[in-house]
């Protein structure tokens, strides 16, 4: 469902992704780990279509369509969902109003039946419950004054309602307390299914105890420098990234010569 080939991308003119390859098939859960500043959020934002995140080479296909040619809302309507590392506060727009507009637009585009306001409210309350968020949060401005953990739970709440085909979770575990981590993991696991793909960006092996990935990748210097199974995450936890990045420099040179 997601095919990324030799992707190069710049942020505000600055090259960040430098030849990234990644394939996600339906039903798979991928974890992406890597040092700070290596390009993980850049990848997520490029895929979601953020302004100033420009694809300069290679391609990213979602459901066979080139993402570069789609507006951010079209990507979402196709079933792509990004849980933001830093969810955005929007005072004056209530969470409920926001969910209503989002679900109306995506469900209509996907040919799903429209939810009337009673159904919508019921579903939203259920989703809140699933992530341990007080339904009062539906009345507040989007993320307005939410704590770090509440913002993350609000992202997962939205994801549960939108039922995306592909969910990109950018450090959704950061800032969550231990109980919240389990609650959120449960929420994500409830979405797991043969039709869905999930990409988790995380710094901590701990999340992967709860959401067990099929594949683990290390992103460094704008490329995937190592891929493996779930045991790779344990190795990283023990040894850090140093042994990989040293290795990568050699690898880079070789590839540069062939390119």
């Amino acid at each position: 469902m997601l095919e990324i080939r030799d992707l190069h991308a710049s942020v505000a003119g600055q090259p960040i992704l430098k030849g990234l390859n990644l394939t996600v098939k339906p039903g798979e859960v991928h974890a992406i780990m890597g040092p700070n500043g290596s390009g993980k959020s850049t990848l997520a934002n490029v895929l979601a279509g953020r302004d100033n995140y420009e694809i300069t080479g290679g391609e990213a296909l979602f459901e066979g369509k080139s993402l570069a040619e789609l507006e951010p809302e079209e990507r979402a309507q196709l079933g792509l969902f990004l849980a933001f590392q830093y969810p955005v506060e929007i005072p004056g727009v209530s969470n409920m109003e926001f969910l209503k507009a989002a679900l109306e637009a995506t469900r209509a585009a996907q040919g799903k039946e429209e939810w009337d306001s009673v159904t919508l409210l019921r579903k939203a309350r259920e989703a809140c419950k699933q992530v341990d968020l007080d339904p009062q949060f539906l009345k507040r401005g989007v993320n307005e004054g939410f704590s770090g953990g509440e913002k993350k739970r609000n992202e997962i709440m939205q994801m549960l309602l939108m039922e995306p085909k592909l969910a990109l979770l950018d450090e959704t575990d950061s800032g969550l307390d231990i109980d919240a981590l389990q609650t959120v993991a449960k929420g994500v696991n409830s979405l797991r299914g043969p039709e869905r793909g999930i990409v988790l960006v995380t710094h901590y092996q701990r999340l992967l105890d709860y959401i067990v990935p099929d594949h683990v990748h290390v992103l460094s210097g704008g490329r995937i420098i190592k891929s493996g199974g779930k045991e790779l995450a344990l190795e990283l936890e023990q040894h850090g990234y140093g042994w990989l990045t040293d290795d990568q420099n050699g690898g880079n040179d070789k590839e540069d010569r062939t390119a």
């Binding site: 302004d51 507006e71 809302e73 969902f81 933001f84 929007i90 004056g92 727009v93 507009a101």
Partner: protein, 419 residues
């Protein structure tokens, strides 16, 4: 050619105004005001290009000859009803068929206020009046339901009307007043509303200006708080071909409190110029002003917020906040707080900003499948939502929400232009 016209325009307007005023056939009770206003008008000058207070608003549109004719048109049949109590002025004349007033409020076909009404247009209004309405709210009367005053302008050709409302709140009275301006066609409404509040009076005031885009409006709103009173005024305004609102408030008794809240929206090619002036003339009064402005396409909006704290007015509390949002780069908003403070013992805060829609907020909404145009509309509404939520009367809020949603909606082709 247009240069010549513009040069002569202030003189032309004055000549026209004086001529019209002399020919007016007012109801008898207006005679004293008319004479005084006429004398003042003779000594007044209409604004030209160099007049500082009219820096952003050109009267060039009036070269179409609006002052040459009085508007002659009929009001539409179905007028909006925001309350059981209502009166209707059509082109400045009371249409008696519609008048229903609550007990404790009496209606007079007269006008008398002159102090504080100093602009040439306000003087012209007084000098050329043929009809006017004064509402007197009896002492210690609590009028339960709002009174809606509709100022309707109607006409097919460039023309004008003078419309005038005076309201006196006697001691201990309470009133909710909804002033609504309606109209379509090339008519200039030259409006004056003057409100006086005595001790312990309490007024909730709405000024709804949603007349059609081809109409013109020049108006003065005057508050005189001669008693320890409280006024809460909510002003919702759309730009049109020419809209100029002078709001003037006198806080004349210690303990008086004035709260003004406003939303103005200038879309397409419309124009709106707000000139606010709050005069603290005695100690220990409070004024609080919160205005939010939006402009899109080639819309143009202005806010000048003057706070004048006189030498003796110790212990004054005065605040003015004006945040503005440009929906696209072609629009323009000019905002300027203007403080004149003549003593030390005051608390005065003001802030004015002009910003644009936040790109990250737009992206967040889009990333949830919400189309860009809808995302922009939601964010614009969010920008003024706080004020809408604070409207104390549900019927007005119910009117305001769809009005704003339409005002802030997408314009055809707007996105290509912005891209």
């Amino acid at each position: 050619m247009s240069g010549d016209n513009a040069l002569n325009l202030p003189e032309d307007l004055k000549t026209r105004a004086l001529e019209n005023a002399r020919q007016a056939t007012p109801v008898e009770a207006l005679a004293p005001l008319r004479q005084e206003a006429l004398a003042a008008l003779e000594g007044a000058a209409f604004p030209g290009r160099k007049t500082e207070a009219w820096k952003y608003t050109s009267l060039y549109a009036l070269t179409d000859g609006h002052l040459a004719a009085r508007a002659e048109g009929a009001a539409p049949e179905d007028l909006p009803r925001l309350s059981d109590y209502r009166l209707v002025l059509v082109n400045g004349r009371l249409d008696e068929r519609h008048t229903t007033l609550p007990e404790g409020v009496s209606l007079g076909r007269r006008a008398s206020r002159l102090e504080g009404l100093t602009t040439p247009f306000a003087l012209y209004n007084g000098a050329a009046l043929e009809d006017a309405v004064t509402l007197d709210v009896a002492a210690n009367t609590d009028v339960s339901a709002p009174i809606q005053v509709l100022h309707v302008s109607a006409g097919d050709a460039p023309s004008h009307c003078n419309t005038r409302l005076e309201v006196n709140l006697a001691a201990g009275s309470r009133l909710t007043l909804i002033e609504q301006y309606l109209g379509a066609g090339p008519v200039l409404t030259n409006a004056v509303t003057a409100i006086q509040a005595a001790d312990n009076a309490r007024l909730t005031h709405y000024r709804l200006q949603a007349d059609a885009g081809d109409s013109l409006h020049i108006g003065t709103l005057l508050f005189q708080q001669t008693g320890v009173s409280r006024i809460d005024s909510y002003q919702l305004m759309a730009g049109n071909r020419l809209r100029r609102n002078d709001v003037r408030a006198f806080l004349d008794k210690s303990g008086a409190e004035l709260n003004m809240h406003g939303i103005f929206v200038a879309r397409d090619r419309s124009h709106i110029d707000n000139q606010l002036c709050v005069e603290h003339r005695v100690p220990e009064c409070t004024s609080n002003q919160v205005y939010r402005g939006l402009a899109g396409e080639k819309g143009r909006a202005v806010l000048n917020g003057r706070i004048h704290i006189h030498p003796g007015a110790k212990g004054t509390l005065a605040e003015l906040s004006n945040k503005n949002l440009l929906l696209n780069p072609g629009a323009e908003i000019d905002t300027k707080p203007e403080l004149e403070i003549y003593n030390d013992d005051v608390k005065c805060a003001h802030g004015a900003t002009v910003g644009q829609l936040d790109a990250l907020q737009q992206f967040y909404l889009q990333s949830r499948g919400i189309p860009l145009a809808e995302a922009k509309r939601m964010l614009s509404l969010g920008f003024v939502n706080e004020l809408i939520m604070s409207l104390p009367d549900q019927t007005v809020a119910d009117w305001a929400q769809p009005w704003l949603a339409a005002e802030l909606g997408q314009r055809p082709g707007a996105d290509e232009e912005a891209a």
